[in-house]
């Protein structure tokens, strides 16, 4: 078991290295001149030449890669061409709001997706199942960006219940400074006991997280359903029933627990998707997170930023899968 975990970890590191190599060289096929971007539009040739040297673009690619790798190992991801700030620092400030969104939507995915899948499996081929299946497949079929627009239209413009975007009301932001302890605004405002802000922040979170949660909800529901169906047809479930164990217990304790392995991997997978879905949605909700950052970087072809985001996402994705794998390996109860 220890060996397995070490192996998994080493593999994770190797994959990460590979990811860095791939992204770096991918970035270099970009048909654009980073130096010119660095100095911005309407620059003179001298300015561009100076920037080329400053950015080390005159050196051979391998040397550049070595430098980059060295930087990465020290947490330095280079400077954004757009903002000229260290990418690592920017990511650090954009990541928490995104993580906050992801956690919240993953939470939604769990509390909505699992019961949905469970009921669907319980009532297989009945009306409820058809509804749940339609709902869960529908949820993964919706273009998130499109949903975002309509949610705004309904809840902000027509009903006026929820704010349009942003993380909190600007005026509140000017009034109260919330000390940053965790980096998560909602948590910070709750810790500092500021309910006005907490409420406002929560309200701002609803629309984006619901939008983003749609995909994982559908995914979790679908996977839970099929995992459960598979398990429910197993002999040991029939056996449990034959011992007179109540259907409710069979479903919730026996079957659900056994499907945990699948559900967990799926959840890890879906967080990866969620992360990327923020790229499409955050900009629409003016959410100051990684997604908005990426959208801006993509438009400006800010390649250090794109690589940075890619690395961070890939890193979290790998870590998530790793954790899921290790937990599954460690806990005999979810290993099947």
């Amino acid at each position: 078991m220890k060996n397995y975990i070490i192996k998994r970890l080493l593999l994770g590191v190797m994959v990460l290295l590979g990811v860095i190599v791939v992204t770096f060289f991918l970035a270099r096929v970009i048909p654009s001149n980073p130096a010119a971007q660095w100095v911005g539009p309407r620059a003179t040739q001298e300015q561009i030449d100076a920037a080329t040297i400053e950015l080390g673009l005159d050196k051979p690619l391998v040397v550049q890669f070595g430098k980059y790798l060295q930087g990465v190992s020290q947490g330095d991801l280079g400077k954004s061409l757009r903002t000229k700030l260290p990418v690592a620092k920017e990511l650090a400030s954009y990541l928490p709001p995104t993580v906050e969104l992801i956690i919240f939507s993953t939470f939604l995915a769990i509390i909505i997706g699992i019961p949905l899948g469970l009921n669907s499996a319980k009532k297989k081929d009945q009306a409820l199942d058809h509804f749940c299946r339609f709902f869960s497949v529908g949820a993964v079929s919706l273009p998130t960006f499109w949903v975002a627009l309509f949610l705004q239209l309904i809840f902000y413009r027509w009903l006026g219940w929820l704010p349009l975007g942003g993380q909190m009301e600007t005026k509140l932001k000017l009034l109260y400074s919330i000390p940053s302890r965790t980096g998560f605004l909602l948590l910070d405002s709750i810790i500092s006991g500021n309910w006005v802000v907490a409420q406002d922040v929560f309200k701002h979170m609803i629309l984006p997280s619901v939008t983003i949660a749609l995909y994982p909800i559908g995914l979790v529901a679908r996977m839970t359903r099929s995992a459960l169906l598979e398990i429910l047809s197993e002999d040991y479930i029939k056996a449990a029933r034959s011992y007179g164990i109540k259907e409710r217990i069979v479903l919730w304790n026996y079957a659900l627990k056994n499907s945990l392995g699948t559900t967990m991997t799926v959840l890890a997978l879906s967080i990866g998707y969620t992360l990327v879905n923020t790229f499409l949605v955050e900009a629409i909700f003016s959410w100051p997170g990684l997604g908005s950052y990426t959208a801006a970087a993509v438009v400006a072809l800010d390649y250090p930023a794109i690589i940075g985001v890619t690395l961070v996402s890939a890193f979290s994705y790998i870590m998530l899968n790793l954790t899921a794998d290790i937990i599954i390996a460690l806990d005999p109860r979810v290993r099947v």
Binding site: S32, Q152, G165, S192
Partner: protein, 509 residues
């Protein structure tokens, strides 16, 4: 600690009572805090934090004295003397003196970034006394215009800049004299400014306490915010929205002229666009009226030459291409080009609705005469990079872009866009005509002393240009500001694109 948090909740101020102006801007408010180097959107922030010696009002062609009390120019137009206002304080508390002016401009020149080249004519800067500076130039140049430029002309505190590290600006600091001081910001997202108590004009009368400039990229969001009263000012809404908002009671709409115009450049180094007649044919095929009406939503005017119609140096008498498909077809046929022969690649900056619509309308017209236009939206940098390709064959055939001046002088169009250059930067048509070059150089020198003569010369240079047809002039843009219906004191100055001078405006209660 936790006490701080509790305290803040203690004295609750009703949210509505904060006097804040919220400018919902379509892009990053600022990406570079260095006033010497900043050469893009950042003017909307820096013009409220820093000040320049002068400010130019193109509608009256007059200068407003800001940091300067008065100024003089010598006969030959090569010595400019500015008397400075006294008793002005920088945000760091130091006094504003001639030292700071000399330091600021020299720093800008030294760094050589951004729009620093506008000061190229300056050969030396002399401090006459504490409140008098003298600019000597190597050739006659309109230093008053230069000193009022929205870029590269900001005056910063020498003490603050010298007293801090090289990366002080990068870290998000400022050293201006402007009415508002930087309170906080999130790079690429928002900037918060607050009143600078010691501002030299004082704070009598009504003013906003705080300013929030925030990127709200979605047009629909900007519109919804201004309609709901969440934002105070916004801009760059689709013309359809402007049409509707104009008739709405909830907001005010200001349609203002601007110095921005849309131009399409031909790749004159690549066949068949090296042929003047082909370029002319393609200029005739462009549906100018439809584009003005539908791409710009009517908030524009068809251009006559590169210099916009409300700017000096413009003439309505210049030749104007008009939409004439038959003519276009004839010209093409005369050059032996048959239907289906010509495939053209046009690029524009991704995300720009008006350019997109214009291109699509153009495509529709061209396809009627058997010319296939491929439209490609590209990020500005890539589009520009493509135009800069060594090999003319690798460049796009038509490059559509906006241009606006660094200083209010026709030279600010004619020089960067059309003057011969070995490796052009913005002369993306690769236009080269020595006669034209001489004409504009001479005109520019005259503009510091004899504006009428300069105007005449600029116009005749444009005649030459239009005849060569290296580019076609689409329209001069008008801008629409949408503001809160109670906003007062708002004025738009086309020399300072999208800049709101927040000191001047207030909400009527």
């Amino acid at each position: 600690g936790c006490g701080g948090g509790g305290q803040q909740t203690g004295d609750e101020i009703p949210v509505s009572e904060i006097d804040i102006a919220y400018y919902a801007y379509n892009s990053e408010p600022i990406l570079n805090w260095d006033p010497s180097a900043m050469f893009s959107n950042g003017i909307i922030v820096l013009n409220n934090v820093y000040e320049t010696l002068l400010k130019f009002d193109p509608t009256t062609s007059e200068f407003e004295n800001v940091l300067a009390e008065s100024y003089e120019v010598s006969e030959d137009g090569m010595t400019w003397t500015f008397k400075l206002r006294q008793g002005i304080k920088f945000h760091d508390g130091t006094d504003f003196t001639a030292e700071d002016v000399k330091f600021s401009i020299e720093r800008t020149l030294e760094l050589g970034q951004g729009a620093s080249y506008i000061w190229d004519a300056v050969s030396e800067i002399n401090i006459i006394d504490n409140y008098t500076v003298e600019f000597k130039t190597s050739y006659p140049a309109p230093i008053d215009l230069v000193a009022s430029s929205p870029y590269a002309s900001f005056i910063m505190s020498k003490d603050a800049v010298e007293g801090n590290s090289d990366t002080w600006f990068e870290e998000g600091n400022e050293a201006g004299t402007g009415p508002y001081a930087l309170e906080g910001y999130t790079m690429g997202d928002e900037v918060i400014l607050s009143q600078f108590a010691d501002y030299w004009k004082g704070w009598d009368g009504e003013h906003f306490e705080k300013i929030l400039i925030k990127k709200v990229a979605e047009t629909s969001s900007r519109r919804q915010m201004i309609e709901k009263g969440d934002a105070t000012i916004t801009m760059e809404l689709p013309s359809e929205d402007v049409d509707i908002l104009k008739d709405s009671d909830g907001v005010q709409v200001f349609i203002e002229s601007s110095f921005t115009n849309m131009i399409g450049f031909f790749n004159t180094q690549k066949a068949p666009f090296d042929n003047e007649n082909i370029r002319k044919a393609l200029s005739y095929a462009f549906p100018y009226e439809d584009v003005v009406k539908y791409a710009a939503g009517g908030y524009a005017e068809q251009s006559t030459g590169p210099v916009p119609n409300n700017h000096w140096g413009h003439s309505d008498d210049l030749f104007q291409y008009s939409y004439d498909l038959d003519m276009a077809k004839q010209l093409l046929e005369a050059e032996g080009i048959k239907e289906g022969d010509l495939n053209i690649l046009l690029t524009y900056m991704s995300g720009d609705e008006a350019e997109k619509k214009a291109s699509e309308l153009y495509k529709a017209e061209l396809s009627k005469i058997g010319v296939n236009l491929e439209i490609r939206a590209m990020p500005w940098e890539t589009q520009w990079e493509m135009a800069m390709s060594e090999n003319p064959e690798d460049r796009q055939d038509i490059f559509i872009m906006y241009w606006w001046p660094d200083i209010s002088n026709p030279y600010s169009w004619l020089y960067p866009l059309y003057r011969s250059e070995e490796s052009p930067l913005f002369n993306l048509a690769y236009y080269s005509n020595p006669e034209f070059d001489n004409m504009i150089d001479s005109a520019y020198e005259k503009s510091s002393t004899d504006i009428n003569q300069a105007t005449e010369e600029f116009i005749s240079a444009q005649e030459v240009l239009i005849d060569d047809a290296p580019s076609f002039y689409i329209y001069d843009k008008q801008v629409a500001w949408i503001t809160d219906k109670n906003l007062r004191g708002f004025e738009s100055n086309p020399s300072y694109p999208w800049v709101v001078f927040f000191y001047d405006i207030y909400l009527e209660k």
